[in-house]
């Protein structure tokens, strides 16, 4: 089978293939072929993900000083991170507060992107009839990605700033007397920017799931007398679940690790798990940064495991 594939794929590359070539086909064992096919991706995964990850875990248990990593076992990266977590009870320690804030932002962004993303995907999948329009409108969703992260975020200042468009508009219409300070450099602006950025990651997988729903199922529901709402809850949502979970995984992993958007939109005053790592790295405290990265990884992994409990993605795909 593999040879057929090879020959089909590149008939011009093998001289005389198909006609004049009479060499005996040497069959490779099928398991070997599977390994060969999965090999390149596996190697990339190994070299650029697993090995670096192993290093991060190892370094997280090293000691350090101002200018060197000291390759001796030390739990300092971790103990420093959880400093005061018991002593300060019932108040939260730094890491507790930081993760609480990160999870809160993450939940808000997830809920909003899911709501918006679901309905955008619903509209694209069920209300837009022509394939061309579906494609065109999906591409429109990528507009936020056309500019650089920085420009996009700087662009919010003239809009949401103290003397920005929104505030001056509201003041002029007499709705408010003083500019609203919380429009910018606040949790509001952070969530706004993250939603603006990442709704697209919800739209695509949900749309992908929805487009594959057999239309006759919806017709059947309609024929059986289901209301629109019943069809949505009992047919469409269950069948779009894989897309919802995949989109959620995208959004949650990105937001959990984000520190640039949170930093710029939050005026660098809002704690984020990623920001702790950034501050540590900038101070050349690599083991402490690595320890925080490991903690972040574990927490994110736990969330994703919980989500994949809800839906068996492998099965659904």
């Amino acid at each position: 089978m593999s040879e057929e594939v090879l020959q089909q794929a590149s008939p011009g590359l093998i001289p005389g293939s198909g006609t004049a070539r009479a060499a005996k086909p040497t069959r490779l064992p099928p398991s070997f072929v599977s390994w060969l096919q999965a090999g390149p991706m596996m190697l990339v995964f190994l070299a650029f993900f697993l090995i670096p990850l192993v290093f991060v875990v190892i370094v997280s248990f090293w000691d350090y000083n101002e200018y060197h990593l000291l390759p001796a076992f030390s739990g300092r990266g971790y103990t420093d991170t959880f400093e005061g977590c018991i002593a300060q009870l019932p108040d939260l320690c730094t890491i507790g507060k930081t993760y609480l804030k990160t999870l809160k932002l993450c939940f808000m962004v997830w809920a909003i992107t899911l709501f918006i993303g679901f309905w955008v995907a619903y509209f694209l999948a069920f209300h837009v009839r022509s394939k061309t329009w579906q494609m065109g409108l999906s591409l429109l969703c990528t507009i936020p990605f056309w500019t650089s992260n920085v420009i996009r975020m700087i662009a919010w200042i003239p809009l949401l700033g103290r003397n920005g468009l929104v505030n001056s508009g509201l003041v002029k219409t007499g709705l408010i007397n003083h500019p609203l300070e919380w429009l910018l450099f606040s949790e509001f602006s952070v969530v706004l920017a993250l939603v603006h950025l990442f709704t697209f990651f919800m739209v695509v997988p949900i749309f992908n799931s929805m487009i594959r729903i057999d239309k006759s199922l919806i017709e059947a529901a309609y024929d059986a007398g289901a209301t629109g709402f019943q069809t949505l809850v009992n047919v469409i949502i269950p069948l779009a679940k894989p897309g919802i979970v995949i989109g959620s995984i995208f959004v949650i992993t990105i937001v959990m690790g984000d520190f640039i958007t949170i930093g710029v939109m939050g005026g660098q005053q809002i704690a984020a798990a990623g920001k702790i790592i950034e501050t540590r790295v900038n101070a050349l405290q690599f083991p402490a940064a690595a320890a925080n990265a490991v903690i972040l990884l574990i927490i994110t992994f736990l969330i994703i495991t919980m989500m994949s409990r809800i839906v068996d993605i492998k099965k659904e795909l």
Binding site: E66, Y67, H68, D80, E83, T94, K97, T98, K101, S148, N149, V150, I151, I154, I157, P158, G161, R162, N163, G164, E181, L184, F185, I260, V264, G267, Q268, Q269, I270, A271, K275, I276, E278, T279, R280, V281, N282, A283, L284, Q285, A288
Partner: protein, 429 residues
Amino acid sequence: MSKTTGTKGVSRRTLLRGTAGLAGLAAGSGAITGFPYVKSADAKVLRYLGTAVNEGDDISKQCLKDTGIKIEYITATTDDVTKRVMTQPNSFDVLDTEYFSLKKIVPSGNILALDARKIKEFDNITPVFTKGETPGGKKIGGQGTAPWKVLYLEGKDSKKFATSATEFVTLIPTVYNADTLGIRPDLIKRPISSWSELLNPEFKGKASILNIPSIGIMDAAMVVEATGKYKYADKGNMTKEEIDLTMKVMTEAKKAGQFRAFWKDFNESVNLMASGETVIQSMWSPAVTKVRSMGIACTFQPLKEGYRSWASGFCVSKGVSGAKLDWAYEFVNWFLSGYAGAYLNRQGYYSAVLSTAKANMEPYEWAYWMEGKAAEKDIKAPDGSLLEKAGAVRDGGSYEDRMGGVACWNAVMDENDYMVRKWNEFIAA
């Protein structure tokens, strides 16, 4: 409203968040070079790692013309420069960095001290670096990592800073300045004369500081001292208790909503100020000039407690030897020979060798930038754009007054690790 482009050559540590910062953070400090690396036996090429302060295209072009040495800039943030020196010492030849990073870089053994005897103008370097006083004899505040404390090494391969002059120089001085608060006089409408105003509730939600922990905490310390709450033995090297005290003051201010945002990049500081988001914040001199050149009133306000200063200079990577080392000396000597110094002076920074810079500036320029006199003619930036109209006077006045008024220097504390942890706590509060 707020332009963010067109600061090339005017910006200290620019490009940071811009492109290099993002790419760097994402990809683990990326090398952004303007030119492809040409491997040729004859071409005199030096890879120059540094922040954007000294890195002007005009400087590299002039250098190529005068010496035949081609400079390849590798631009990074202050933090990323240090990171690169520690982790990839072979990825650059000449290093341009700040004195306060020496406490990390020197013990790593990744840089080579330069020989003072091979630097032609070494004896003409301003006494600010060598003696800690201005040419006029004013004593300069030495709190923090003052350059004269870390200027010399005990021996060629020593990792110890010498207490008296030796021929082994850690960094050949190039550029420095005295930083203070920038204010919007049109929005504040009253005189500002003390650092304590930074945390004055009157400016609630309209203040900002630099988002570099080691520098931010020093600004906070200036405020604490100005309010008379506490007097530090050395603001640049606090004890744990002092860090706690300073952070407590900062945390209270943060919780009360004093700060609008912290900034890390030249353009951010310009944006915040120009858009009126902030009216008082720590700032860099060319950033103030930039806001003013947009037609918005902005003052680099001298304060009675003094300035927080910084300085940077050149050294080479430990991997540099032979002909390349000779080029490095040639380059450093060229840099101090006047063209670059004048270029930096015209941006509002100060050059290390004053005499050669003066020879490369017009007398009216020198009078405005260095002597604190009213400008006889319009003052132009190195790129020819108008900075100040005739009659203007530089904020803070003359070199003597500004450098003489320095109270402390950017620093890395002995308790840096503790301070960084406290900073994260402060952000989470």
